[in-house]
């Protein structure tokens, strides 16, 4: 990835400063700050209702924070505050430099159009106008996510759950984004399919030098994929650190509870 090397990797890609969001009297997210560097995988863990998804939506510019801001270093090297981006710029960012993998693939895919068109949509959205090249790129990506290329013309509604999730990943990665948001990407899949998907994600992330913010309640996913972990409870970040440090030597009582609730292998 030539253009990744050109940028200075010592500067953070995304910086969140004192992010808060309240819905009426309910504070869903309180005073969250962190920096994410290029190629870094950050897992946000915590039980449901802890503010993980709210935080993810604020980070990806889909929800305006009540206080604080998010800044992002664009491809041209200029750091911009996401709230000052116009809607057109934000949507452009979303379909080029960012990816968003939903828990439910039906939310991230067009279920009625073929797999090839699903992968090709982002390319067509940025002006690709050559059918042969779009199709070649799409089949290339299907192969990379281990989907049989012979099924390129089938609609994802004929795919299994695991295939749908892999297709969603291909659709997001086709424009070579630098940052991918993932919301419980392995939720609802059986264990062997989960393992295969995690394996695939791990190799893609390393190969493409992706920065990833992954929201999960599954500590095994965090352990396998992430470099750093943020533990959330009641809208606050209660513990943060290197993944093995947090998971092997948890400091906060809540984190200890979370870690001890996993069955030993």
């Amino acid at each position: 990835m030539a253009d990744h090397d050109m940028l200075d990797n010592d500067e953070p890609l995304l910086v969140a400063t004192s992010l808060s969001k309240s819905f009426g009297r309910i504070a869903a997210c309180r005073d969250v700050s962190f920096a994410l560097y290029p190629g870094e995988v950050l897992a946000i863990v915590g039980e449901s209702g802890s503010g993980k998804s709210t935080l993810l939506q604020m980070l990806s510019g889909q929800l305006a924070p009540s206080a604080g801001h998010v800044s992002y270093r664009m491809r041209d090297g200029v750091t911009r505050d996401l709230t000052t981006l116009g809607e057109a710029e934000r949507r452009f960012l979303f379909r080029t430099d960012w990816g968003f993998v939903h828990q439910d693939p039906a939310q991230g895919l067009r279920m009625a159009v073929s797999a090839g068109a699903n992968v090709g949509e982002r390319l067509m959205a940025v002006g690709w106008n050559h059918y042969g090249r779009i199709r070649d790129t799409a089949s290339d990506w299907l192969a990379r996510v281990e989907i049989d290329v012979a099924r390129i013309d089938d609609a994802p509604r004929t795919y299994s759950g695991g295939m749908r999730q892999r297709l969603q990943i291909a659709r997001n990665l086709v424009t070579e984004p630098r940052l991918v948001f993932m919301d419980e990407p392995t939720g609802g899949l059986d264990v062997s399919v989960q393992a295969r998907l995690l394996d695939l994600l791990r190799s893609l992330v390393a190969e493409l030098h992706l920065a990833v913010i992954i929201v999960t309640h599954d500590l095994a996913v965090a352990r396998l994929l992430s470099h750093r972990v943020m533990v959330m409870k009641g809208g606050r970040v209660i513990e943060t650190g290197l993944t093995d440090q947090v998971l092997d030597d948890p400091r906060e009582p809540y984190t200890q509870l979370l870690v001890s609730s996993i069955l030993p292998p």
């Binding site: 949507r91 159009v113 067509m124 106008n129 779009i134 199709r135």
Partner: protein, 298 residues
């Protein structure tokens, strides 16, 4: 008690002003769908309520009206609308394309080239070209506003993936004035090139969907395509069986239950004009009948 039962051209003047304002805005922003307060008309939705309202708003006493339905001047829909305006506006009507000043059409553009003194009014069932791919109106409006038209190519991609070529044969999406993607109403894609740089004003009215849009005269209209699958107008590979025309849009007419069929011009005025000028196709019966009668007389 001699007050007329209707205002000139059926609609009241306030309604016409409202529609004219929408039309002016549509002309100012080529290809943009302008919402308007569509009225109920004395005909069902789907029969041209949008086109009729546009026609009513622009019609003047000196205008000559032509109405076509699938190219034909003599189908129920065309005759009814022509009679409607003959009755409510008292305007002259015609079937000849070159005599008309206002032409209301359903699904065709006349073969005879239009001129600067003419207005073509289309009846539009579904004005939103992105509708079948994106069902949310809020989302399609945003996509138009931001000129995000990747989705339109997804549809063309699907066509090629499934059929090997762009199989969309009508309502083929166009880009107007290098900005808005527009549904040209269900005209065959054969007619798409006629919209480009057309000297006549083209107005589109969708009654049920309450939208008006326009292509001003001499505006660039480009049919969407891929570099390696360029836009191609489609036409049956046959001459018209009645007038022998090689370059007009043809209807296929099934003539028996043994596979017999004939191809005839869809534009009846064009076909009749050519026959009157002495052109004949393989199945035009008239000359033989005339000859037979002459023989028996003699």
């Amino acid at each position: 008690m001699n007050a007329p039962a209707y205002n000139f051209a059926y609609l009241d003047e306030q309604t016409k002003r409202m529609i004219r304002r929408a039309i002016l805005k549509a002309i100012a922003i080529p290809g943009y769908q302008v919402p308007f307060a569509s009225r109920e008309m004395p005909m069902p939705y789907g029969w041209g309520t949008g086109g009729v309202q546009v026609t009513a708003a622009i019609l003047g006493p000196q205008d000559v009206l032509k109405v076509i339905d699938q190219g034909s001047d003599d189908t129920t829909n065309a005759i009814s609308i022509r009679k409607f305006f003959a009755k409510t506006a008292g305007v002259a009507t015609t079937t000849a394309t070159d005599e008309a000043t206002v032409i209301q059409t359903r699904h065709r553009i006349p073969e005879t080239a239009l001129n600067e003194n003419q207005v073509l009014v289309y009846q539009v069932p579904i004005p939103e070209p992105l509708r079948f791919l994106e069902p949310r109106e809020t989302e399609t409006r945003r996509m138009h506003a931001l000129a995000e038209y990747g989705l339109m190519h997804v549809k063309l991609y699907e066509d090629i993936a499934r059929f090997g070529h762009i199989a969309t044969a009508y309502a083929y999406p166009v880009k107007v004035n290098a900005r808005y993607v527009m549904d040209p109403s269900p005209t065959p894609k054969f007619d798409n090139p006629k919209m480009d740089n057309c000297p006549a004003l083209q107005l589109f009215g969708a009654g049920r969907e309450k939208r008006i849009y326009a292509i001003p005269p001499y505006t660039k209209v480009v049919s969407l395509d891929f570099e390696d699958h360029p836009f191609e107008p489609y036409r049956f590979n046959a001459p018209c069986a009645l007038c022998g025309a090689e370059n007009s849009y043809l209807d296929e007419i099934v003539t028996d239950d043994k596979g017999g069929r004939m191809f005839v011009c869809s534009d009846t005025d064009y076909c009749e004009g050519r026959q009157a000028a002495g052109h004949h196709g393989s199945l035009s019966a008239a000359p033989y009948k005339e000859k037979a009668r002459e023989a028996s007389n003699g």
